[in-house]
Structures are given as C-alpha cells and as structure tokens.
C-alpha cells in the first residue's frame, strides 16, 4: 500500500460508499433523472471512496456504513468467519475496511481483525496441504489479500517439492541428443 502506483491501492478507493450530503451543492447532478441543477441537503447517493473521502474532509458529506460491513455480514462473520464469501461482498474487504473505519464506524477495525484471525487459520491449513483442484472452491471465498497469501504459500511449497523430487540436475543440450542419432 506504500506504493503510489499500487494497482490494488487504487482499486480499493474505487469501492462505492453510501453518503448523505450535509450541504446543498450547486452545479452538480448526482442523478440524471432530476431536473434540478443542484444537490439538496440530506440527499443520499453512492460515491467512490476517493471522492467521498475528500468531500468528507470538507464536511460536505457524511459517510454511511457500506453493505459489506452491515449488520448481516457482521453476524455471518461472528457465526463462522471462515465460510463467509467476502470476495463477492468486497474483494478488498480488509484494505477498504481499514480506510473506512476512521471515517464512519470505528468498530469496523475490530471486525476486520476478528475476521482475519479466523480466516488466516483456514488459509494456512488449505495452502500447505490441499491440492490445487480441490482448493478452487475455497479460493472463491477469499479476498484479494487472502488470495495473495494463499498463492505465496502454494508457490513456495510447490517450488520446494519440485526441488526435493530433483530430477536431472544437468539439462542435456538438445544438440547432444541429435548428434548420436545418425550413428545408430
């Protein structure tokens, strides 16, 4: 996230958040269907996070809790965090939550660390043991961050297994194989 050009960092801020306008704003339309050329105070809409954050700093909007952190998701996470399909809710669940927590609801932080703690164990077990084919269903539930973790574990384990199995250490140059054939 430190990198300015980090594509995941950019995509996180593209997530939509529901906002309520605190001020009337002239010259903008949030909805094509409205006739008026301004936004009334108290109107609700969804804005991408990067815009909502800027407006929030200027006290123009207040940010509401988005759907992926609502009460229903919370209950599901409390019931069994490992089985919740976070990817379809928000692929950047943790990063988005971290950015959002100070702006709308501080308790999101607790939810995130609780969910991660449980789901981390699940990723750990699956990553080092399961064959790739069996894991594809499990992979569908993971957020981006968890997928990276899973892939990191899988690839280093696969590299180790490949090394241990060995095989020929010296690769035979293709020209050497060809040379013998005419003689036979």
């Amino acid at each position: 996230m430190a990198n300015y050009y980090d594509i995941d960092g950019i995509l996180v801020e593209e997530e939509f958040v529901p906002v309520v306008f605190q001020k009337a704003i002239n010259g903008v339309k949030i909805d094509e269907s409205t006739e008026k050329g301004y936004v009334e105070q108290g109107s609700k809409t969804e804005l991408p996070f990067w815009l909502a954050q800027e407006l929030h700093m200027r006290q123009a909007v207040s940010i509401r809790v988005p759907a992926c952190f609502n009460q229903k998701t919370r209950l599901e996470i409390q019931a069994d965090a490992a089985c919740v399909d976070l990817r379809s809710r928000c692929p950047y669940f943790y990063e988005f939550g971290c950015k959002l927590a100070p702006l709308c609801d501080k308790s999101i932080g607790l939810l995130l660390s609780y969910a991660f703690r449980i789901r981390y164990k699940e990723v750990l077990h699956k990553a080092h043991t399961t064959a790739f084919a069996a894991a594809s269903k499990f992979l569908m539930l993971l957020t981006k961050e968890e997928t990276y973790m899973y892939e990191a574990a899988q690839s280093s384990m696969a590299a180790f297994k490949k090394w241990r199995m060995g095989g020929p250490r010296l690769q035979r140059a293709s020209i050497l194989g060809r040379k013998r054939k005419p003689a036979e």
Partner: protein, 208 residues
C-alpha cells in the same frame, strides 16, 4: 543479500538455498596428492591420499564427481543420531538442533555420494520423517502466531524459506489490523493528505 529468482519480493528459490548450503564444510578423504587450493573463500589443502581434509561441500562434490575422493558423511547424518533426533522431535514442541542446511546437505550427498553413506535408504527415510514432523510443527506454530513477538529456535534454512512469503504477508496484515484497532487515527481528519500511512505514529509490537 537478496534472491535472484524473484525481483520484487526478494525471495529465495530452493536452488538458491542449496547454493548457499554448498559453502558448508565437510570432511573428505582424498585419493590424490595435490597442493593447497587458494580461493576467495579460503585456502584448502594440501591434500594427501588417505588423510582427511575439510573442504566446502561444492569442492567435495566436484572432487567426488571426478573420483578423486570419498566424502565422510557428517556426524549428525548417522542413523543413530538421526533416530534420536526424530524421537526427540516427536516428543517435544521445540525444534531439535540440526545443521541450518540439513535438508540441502543431505540432498546433495544423496545425489552425489550415495556409496559413501552407510545405510543410505535408512538415513534418507529418517531425514524425510524428521522433515515431515518438523514441518507439521511449523504449521501448528504458524497457527498460533499473531502480531506479537515470534521466537522459534533452530528452524532450518529451507523451512524458513517455505513459509517466508506467506508468513511475511500474514504478519504484515496482523500488524496492520492490530494497529488500526489500537489507534484509530483521528489525525486523518485534520490532515489534508488523504494517504498518510507514512506519518502515522509507529507503535511498537507489544506481546499480548
């Protein structure tokens, strides 16, 4: 020092770890007479037939390939000591002291000097068993860790390398979430810069 196989993650491939293991010293019994060899890493020799000498593993393997020496397997690679290690490994939660590169050294010796190892098959299966037990321990340890301090003694190079990428990411995430929870940064409101992870106050990792 960083790995060459992966540019942005600075990870090592197993082959690179093996390369580092080749600097470990082993004892060889040469069957040729040769003056001492002067390398950047040190001077080895002179070599006399039937007189044991200490050389790096890569040199031992090179000499062995040309049939100029026999390699004496290290002390810990005997069936007795490995059986003992395996037993202790199964009984306790801690990792038993083994050479840092035990997997790589044993693999290189199995590949190049199998006739010099007494009970090769026994030794090999013992090492496999030890590796399995130890890796299972690594996994149970990983399960327990949070952003607090992590101290595991006697892990070997290869074991560390297998979990390096995963554990690094996981620790980062744990650290981030714990930090977020302890200090929901209120200064973000006052700061005009939307992205301020760099100047957020750093919190020391406290054992919980």
């Amino acid at each position: 020092m960083a790995g060459q196989s992966d540019l942005n993650m600075s990870l090592f491939s197993p082959e690179e770890i093996e390369f580092m293991a080749e600097d470990e010293l082993v004892e060889i019994v040469p069957n040729l007479r040769m003056d001492s060899l002067n390398f950047i890493c040190g001077d080895y020799g002179p070599f006399h037939p039937q007189l044991a000498a200490q050389v790096p593993l890569w040199l031992a393997v090179a000499l062995k390939k040309r049939g100029k020496c026999t390699i004496r397997p290290p002390q810990w690679m005997s069936t007795e000591s490995l059986a003992q290690v395996l037993e202790l490994e199964r009984d306790s939660h801690a990792f038993q002291p083994l050479p840092f590169h035990y997997l790589e050294i044993s693999r290189l010796l199995f590949d190049h000097a199998r006739e010099d190892i007494p009970d090769m098959y026994m030794v090999r299966s013992l090492i496999e068993d030890i590796r399995d037990v130890r890796f299972h321990k690594v996994e149970t340890n990983l399960e327990k860790f949070t952003a607090s301090t992590v101290t595991w003694k006697n892990m070997s190079a290869m074991e560390v390398n297998i979990i390096r990428a995963f554990a690094g990411r996981a620790l980062q995430a744990f650290y981030k979430h714990d930090n977020e929870q302890q200090a929901p940064d209120t200064d973000r409101m006052l700061d005009k810069q939307p992205q301020i992870p760099a100047d957020r106050p750093k919190h020391n990792l406290k054992p919980r």
